[in-house]
């Protein structure tokens, strides 16, 4: 095995069999033992059947990527073994349901028999498998019991009875080294996005279901009361964005979430938010395209579209986080920035980021608060689009003692439609000044992150979820790693600073054309090589390492 403190576990089964839940329980078990954990999900666009699997990585260092090979394979069905046996390490071990799969090698657990004998429901067979697997991994009964009590909502005692029986029947094959570290909350990127926005004062979330953004809708709806917010599912993405703009005009912080196709429908509303100078936070989680593409698989190919989303001349904030911590921080920060600059702001994520499970640093939440926007003083006649020096006009809302006129039309300072060239120029230039302020704001933020060997002449540039594997390989090979985090307004100065001493820049991206190259080119930055992947699956560490070594 690779490293005594770095294991990869694949948990697979048919859709509806509960492999994802099993994966999460196993991840939490190791998290409680002090290990860093990361889960990548692979599932198909179907309800029952097919093949779904989770890859759980447990390690003594924080890694948000997966290995090509697995040390353990936990098979809920025979198909899982057929599909993944070839990706098992030489000394890897298969843990399987002995009642469904006939084989000599590995750890067979009579999970169906145990469940039946003890009068459990068929789904409880998974509990027997998890228990048997835990025993094989050398996890103490107490740790397992605690985890099961926490995770299972129904029939806890029966599940524990089944777990105990399976646990007792299986022999331990591995002695895990203990790591002294407190467990961290495990969050998907989408859950982290939800929390960040709530912390920054989210009032209303609007959405139309679309993978891979749907779990933001589910999570916020589940916690609607806890968070004291409104969650509203509307008839389509056009309704979603326009309602969000309406709510913001009326003074409420609103956020919307979607993926490429839905984002395409929202673009008229993004343009509206820019003209009406109405704050709105849009979460766009990329999936494979064009069109319907491969709905449950990821991609980074919406970058150029997002940079140019919406007709007309305007700048929007676009930030591409790479893990749950950044998702949380930036959804909160972007909601505040949207309100500070009265502008659309887009958090550009992707399937891997939205749906993978990460360790979350709770301290991030303490760095987010609801920041006060520029509000009208209440004195004098109110002008919604007052021609201020900064281009930012103080906000007032219906219900205030003012006449508040928001509009999609070119307008004068009060918000009355105009068509004369003098006023058009006045207002275009007011907005241009605001865009300059937005650029200046980016210069003050950590818009580009640099990691790895800072003296290396060779640097990798990568963004979004691809950072996970790309950073790991960069560190392994002693390369510099540059992550552009804010993509619009583009942090040119910070990027140029990051490039100091670099003579070869290699882009690693999950797209067919290498879209980040075009953005960098627009800013006078040359990309020397591109490593692209477009089977809509994330890079594994080994796969990327091989490709990089060839350069």
């Amino acid at each position: 095995m690779k490293n005594k403190k770095d294991y990869s576990i694949i948990i697979g089964g048919a859709a509806g069999q509960g492999s994802r839940k099993a994966g999460l329980i196993i991840a939490k078990l190791f998290n409680n033992l002090g290990y860093n954990v990361f889960i990548s999900e692979d599932y198909q666009s179907l309800i029952k059947g097919g093949h779904n699997f989770s890859v759980v990585r447990i390690s003594d260092s924080q890694r948000f990527s997966t290995h090509e090979k697995a040390d353990f394979l936990l098979a809920l069905d025979a198909n899982t073994i057929t599909r993944h046996e070839k990706s098992l390490e030489e000394k890897g071990c298969i843990v399987f349901n002995k009642d469904k799969v006939k084989r000599e090698k590995g750890v067979g657990i009579a999970s169906d028999t145990i469940t039946k004998e003890l009068g459990g429901l068929p789904i409880m067979s998974n509990t027997a498998l998890i228990a048997g697997f835990s025993k094989a991994m050398g996890i103490e009964w107490k740790v397992l019991e605690d985890a099961l009590r926490k995770e299972l909502t129904k029939g806890i005692e029966k599940n524990l009875e089944i777990a105990k029986k399976a646990y007792e029947e299986i022999k331990t094959v591995l002695t895990l080294e203990k790591i002294k570290a407190d467990p961290d909350p495990l969050l998907t990127g989408n859950e982290a996005i939800a929390l960040g926005a709530v912390k920054a004062g989210l009032d209303i979330y609007y959405a139309y279901p679309m993978t891979p953004a749907t779990s933001i809708l589910h999570y916020l709806a589940e916690h609607e009361k806890d968070f004291n917010i409104i969650v509203s599912q509307l008839e389509n993405e056009i309704a979603v964005i326009n309602s969000a703009v309406g709510s913001a005009y009326a003074g409420k912080r609103s956020m919307v979430g979607t993926s490429g196709g839905g984002f395409a429908l929202m673009t008229e509303g993004i343009s509206l938010a820019a003209m009406a100078e109405t704050p709105v936070l849009i979460i766009s989680s990329q999936r494979s395209g064009p069109a319907t593409g491969v709905p449950t698989y990821g991609s980074q190919a919406d970058l150029l579209f997002t940079l140019n989303s919406g007709h007309g001349d305007f700048v929007r904030f676009i930030v591409a986080p790479s893990d749950a911590n950044e998702c949380c921080y930036w959804s909160g920060k972007l909601l505040n920035l949207a309100w500070k600059y009265q502008t659309p702001a887009i958090l550009l994520v992707d399937k891997e980021l939205s749906e993978s499970t990460f360790e979350f640093d709770e301290k991030i939440l303490k760095t987010i608060k609801k920041e006060k926007p520029v509000l009208w003083s209440g004195k004098g006649e109110y002008k919604r689009y007052a021609n201020s020096k900064s281009g930012i006009s103080p906000m007032a809302f219906p219900g205030d003692k003012a006449v508040v006129k928001g509009t999609s039309y070119e307008h004068d300072e009060k918000g009355i439609s105009v068509e004369d060239s003098e006023t058009i120029i006045l207002m275009q230039e007011k907005r241009l000044r605001k865009f300059e302020e937005m650029r200046a704001e980016v210069d003050l933020l950590e818009a580009v992150k640099v990691y790895g060997n800072k003296k290396s002449k060779k640097a990798i540039v990568s963004w979004g979820s691809t950072k996970g594997s790309a950073l790991e390989v960069a560190e392994k090979l002693g390369l510099k790693f540059i992550q552009p985090l804010i993509l619009q307004p583009f942090p040119k100065k910070q990027f140029e600073k990051a490039l100091k001493g670099v003579d070869k820049l290699i882009l690693v991206e999950c797209s067919a054309s290498g879209q980040m190259e075009k953005l960098l080119n627009c800013n006078g930055i040359k990309v020397d090589k591109k490593i692209l992947k477009y089977d809509m699956r994330p890079f594994t560490v080994e796969e990327l390492e091989r490709k990089l070594k060839n350069i």
Binding site: K28, N31, K150, P183, D184, P185, L186, L187, E191, L195, V198, K199, D203, I204, H223, E224, D226, F227, N228, I229, I230, S232, L234, E235, N236, I238, A239, N242, S243, A244, V245, G246, S247, A248, Y249, A250, G251, K252, S254, E268, G269, L272, A276, F360, L365, P398, G399, D400, K401, A402, V403, V404, K405, G406, T407, S408, Y409, G415, I416, S417
Partner: protein
């Protein structure tokens, strides 16, 4: 009387039906204000088209939305602040072509907004093309031989979508229209008022309306059957008389009340509690 004028120059064609609607709105808003609605709680939401210029002509809160989207923008405003009284102005093209899904869903949800559809039965500002309510055979620049489509009956559609308030007015009957608007605003839930509005330039049917319209007082407002009879009296082509007035009204729970009832004033979000489930 509140002066609701702005300094914006009115660009409607002389004799346009929109003038009558604007006057009725001013009267209705004044009545609402005189009976206790704070002026600052009134919001005009308009769409795109001649009708939507009304936002510029009223010195009231307003949001001049995108084409077909005024209804959803209005819903967003109402959900954010249910205290506000929302008047949505849009044309037949916006309501029944570009934004028909929003109209149906807003009615279905019973969102407490008041939709006033200026029905001139064609796209006017784009110089005359057929809409979903244009009579079959309407000659426009996109259908020089005449439109080949039968018109939709928007009130029948609203009844099917479970709109809780359905009315029809006429831009030349200002006092009558004012009453309809006040009653719509006072109705808790979704209100739809269709206003027959002649377009003097592209579809001047003033005489047609003057001959066909009549005011009706429906005694059985919550009867769908009675409403349907009145609604189907005119087929949006040439046949039948055109009844004006409230044609249907049936109270039911409104969307914003249901969607906000769990909110607790000044309650801080319980994030820590939620994080515990992630350990």
């Amino acid at each position: 009387m509140e002066n609701l004028e702005t300094k914006c120059i009115n660009t409607w064609c002389p004799g346009c039906g929109n003038f009558g609607i604007l006057q009725a709105v001013k009267l209705a808003v004044n009545e609402l204000i005189s009976k206790g609605t704070p002026k600052e709680n009134i919001v005009i939401v308009s769409d795109i088209g001649c009708n939507s210029k009304i936002a510029d002509y009223l010195n009231l809160n307003s949001f001049y939305s995108l084409h077909g989207r005024s209804i959803v923008t209005a819903m967003g405003i109402k959900l954010a602040n249910p205290e506000l009284k929302i008047l949505v102005f849009l044309g037949d093209g916006a309501a029944l072509d570009e934004g028909i899904s929003h109209l149906i869903h807003a009615a279905k949800r019973n969102s407490d907004i008041n939709v006033i559809m200026h029905n001139n039965r064609l796209f006017a500002l784009t110089t005359g093309q057929f809409t979903a309510v244009s009579p079959k055979g309407l000659k426009g620049k996109s259908t020089p031989e005449g439109s080949i489509e039968e018109p939709i009956n928007p009130l029948e559609l609203m009844l099917a979508a479970n709109s809780s308030f359905i009315a029809r007015g006429y831009s030349a009957k200002i006092e009558h229209l004012k009453d309809l608007i006040v009653k719509a605003v006072n109705h808790k839930g979704f209100s739809f008022i269709e206003v027959m509005q002649p377009c003097v330039t592209f579809f001047n049917n003033i005489q047609f309306y003057n001959e066909k319209v009549y005011e009706t007082v429906n005694e059985e407002l919550d009867s769908r059957e009675k409403a349907l009879t009145l609604i189907k009296e005119w087929n949006y082509n040439g046949e039948g008389k055109i009844p004006l007035g409230i044609l249907f009204k049936k109270d039911r729970a409104c969307f914003e009340e249901e969607a906000t009832k769990h909110l607790v004033k000044d309650k801080k979000p319980e994030i820590e509690k939620c994080l515990q489930t992630h350990l």
